[in-house]
């Protein structure tokens, strides 16, 4: 089995595309593969194909969520759960790019949390092993947020934060 669910490829006609593999037909990590042209997007001339290949997958969940599911309003505050991971780092940038005001990143890896202000986070919340401490910190962050995003594998502290959210936050789980 060849793994890989998406990538950048050059079609036989020379055109560069970003593609997402069919659900049951993986194999993007190959020299040559079969793509469904309906699930591919032509890339701009001279586009940075390595960056596009690297960022599309972790960025698209937040991008689609904030454009299609819960269109963000200018200045809205956003809490990103799982912010230390790749998708979380992208979610912070996407939220800022789409006009969010205060963006808070919560996650477990404290070294990576420390890098988040550099990509636009206004604050971070460390999800420590101390459940009471993590819950209290998240509650404070969530209380001030109108939208929160969680990455695929929600950890126990992240699940606890769902109890703390108000007013009317929306959590989008890709």
């Amino acid at each position: 089995m060849v793994p890989g669910i998406d990538g950048v490829g050059r079609r036989e006609d020379g055109q560069l595309v970003y593609f997402v593999a069919d659900d049951e037909l993986v194999g993007a990590m190959a020299t040559r593969t079969v793509i469904d042209t309906r699930r591919s997007v032509v890339l701009p001339d001279g586009g940075n194909i390595v960056k596009i290949a690297a960022a599309m997958n972790p960025a698209m969940s937040a991008w689609v969520a904030l454009r299609r599911r819960v269109p963000i309003e200018a200045g809205q505050s956003v809490l990103v759960l799982g912010a230390a991971g790749n998708a979380g780092q992208m979610a912070i940038q996407v939220a800022k790019r789409l006009g969010a005001g205060r963006v808070v990143g919560a996650g477990r890896d404290q070294a990576r949390l420390a890098t988040l202000p550099g990509i636009g986070a206004n604050a971070t919340v460390a999800l420590t092993a101390d459940a009471a401490d993590a819950t209290a910190s998240l509650a404070e962050a969530a209380r001030r947020s109108t939208w929160s995003s969680t990455t695929c594998g929600a950890s126990p502290p992240v699940r606890r934060s769902w109890r703390c959210c108000r007013p009317a936050p929306t959590a989008a789980a890709p």
Partner: protein, 69 residues
């Protein structure tokens, strides 16, 4: 606080929650954002021929490895 007393909404966002067509329609603008640096990523291209060593090498946090032909 009990969940029933929280003003809380949970929405799925994967394929299925958004149609494939709608999902695809959002990708060109995201590609532009990544390409023009509006959304930053640190990527490390590695040759596909080296995949066996790259696969088991420890990840550098925040760096995405990209296999290239």
């Amino acid at each position: 606080m009990a969940l029933r007393s929280a003003n809380f909404r949970l929405q799925g966002n994967g394929q299925g929650a958004v149609s494939t067509k709608a999902y695809l329609a959002e990708l060109p603008s995201l590609i532009d954002e990544i390409d023009n640096g509006g959304i930053a990523v640190t990527a490390r291209p590695v040759p596909l021929a080296d995949v066996e060593t790259v696969w088991i090498a420890p990840e550098v946090p925040g760096v995405r490895a990209v296999l290239v032909p």
